[in-house]
Amino acid sequence: MTGAGGKHDHRSHRWISVALAGGTVSGLVALASLVGTPAASASQATVGLGSATSFAVLAGTTVTNTGPSVVSGDLGLSPGSAVTGFPPGTVGNGTIHAADAVAVQAQSDLTTGYLDAAGRTPVTTVSADLGGQTLVAGVYKATSGLGLTGTVTLDAKSDANSVFIFQAGSTLITASNSTVQLTGGAQACNVFWQVGSSATLGTGSSFSGSILALTSATVQTGTTVSGRVLARNGQVSLDNNTITVPTCTRAAATSSTSSTTTVAAGTAQSGATPTTAVTGVIPRGAPATGAGGTAPAGHGELLVTLGGLALLGAAAATAVALTVRRRQVVHLPGGRDA
């Protein structure tokens, strides 16, 4: 039951003596900018996307494009590696990551973000079609498909940290010429669409927010996305689109329980930070985190290595160094076996 995984980040070596010696943290240089925005005291925290934050387009199997689409942000896929249509499509302010380590990690982080968004509560049940509605910050759930005909308005009510999370049990389908309208200071970076199967954005539409689709995502002709098109297992199809990773402005606190955005050296972070619990995947079974090299041999067994050296009793650390990975129990004439 030993795993073959375990990603090692070589950047982390240089941090250790600086960060942990004597408990001081001066001299540290931030590796990456903070992800997400701190929530106002009563609303949902943003959905953290980890390294998927920089991706405008992310797929599992393939990325297929038609026409001069303009992607601003990273474009990637994993485990597939086929990207077609670039050129005539272009990727600016970003890099194409085809089945590389960055894409692998981005998919992993997308998974975490997807599970986070899917698990948020409390939810407000919405009708299958959002057209004509004005919604404030919150979590909106459709048990099966979610659709949009016409315009849905997302109103942040002057709180730029307002987060809007949509949970679609199956598909997300927007009609041609539909619009996701942001008002009251709402930001596309704070709008998330968790899609249980696949998302299809109709032609000539204006869409805002990050699509987190479990299967595939199709953006039809001429549609503009201020946000991200992230598909976990399937493909992303584009057609004469503009996809732009949203910038996010962290709003200054307005209530007494909210946090400030700058922190002084050596002081503890204060104020409101994401208050929603995160539970990810729960593995089955129990971890196999030991190989017995310090365990005493029991019940008079003899352990014989391939090198013919017998180890008895006490910790292997006191024995001659082993060159084999597995010990074998051998039946010796007249000896006891397990």
Binding site: M1, G3, G5, G6, K7, H8, D9, S12, W15, I16, A19, L20, V25, S26, V29, A30, L31, S33, L34, V35, G36, G48, G50, T53, S108, T111, T112, C248, R250, G266, A268, Q269, G271, T273, P274, T275, A277, V278, T279, G280, I282, P283, G285, A286, P287, A288, T289, G290, A291, G292, G293, T294, P296, A297, G298, L322, R326, R327, V329, A338
Partner: protein, 166 residues
């Protein structure tokens, strides 16, 4: 828990002063059979990346080997930790998250409380997991897991003002 939760950021290093442990962290996912991946490096623990990062509300889990085939590994002395001992985690954004040990428990693997270890009880917890108990020579596995439960006590931000995220 009395300290506020911190923002999500991938952990990159772990410090346990009482054990003299200061090591980088890898990240772990799932094996194809649904069990948790374990580190490939006996001296480097791994953070379970399909869960919260240390400091988020929920239970963040770091797993490390107690020993290799040849001798002690990074979490060899984990079971000797006591309530109040400090555990520090450095995050990728430069924040150091501080935890204090609440308790050390040994569970038979056949009764491993996965929901309790990986699930959230509404507070910010960090669980350190390794193997322990009796070693079964025949199967080549320990019969138990040692779980050190810790809870968030505070965090320290880097000296520099963080850049505005995009």
């Amino acid at each position: 828990m009395t300290a506020p939760a911190v923002l999500r950021s991938v952990p990159v290093a772990l410090g346990i002063p009482a054990l003299g442990v200061a090591v980088p962290l890898s990240s772990l996912g799932l094996n194809s059979d649904g069990t948790v991946e374990v580190p490939t490096d006996y001296q480097e623990p791994g953070w379970f990346r399909l869960g919260p990062t240390p400091g988020q509300i929920g239970s963040s889990v770091i797993l490390g080997h107690v020993d290799s085939y040849q001798g002690p590994a990074v979490f060899f002395k984990l079971g000797t930790l006591r309530p109040g001992d400090r555990v520090d985690v450095l995050l990728a954004d430069g924040v150091v998250v501080h935890f204090a040990v609440d308790g050390v428990a040994t569970y038979l693997k056949s009764q491993f409380p996965a929901d309790q270890v990986y699930g959230s009880n509404g507070s910010s917890a960090l669980e350190l997991v390794t193997c322990g108990g009796q070693f079964d020579q025949r199967s080549g596995h320990y019969l138990s897991n040692i779980v050190v439960a810790t809870s968030l006590v505070g965090s320290t931000s880097p000296a520099k003002v963080p850049p505005t995220p995009r």
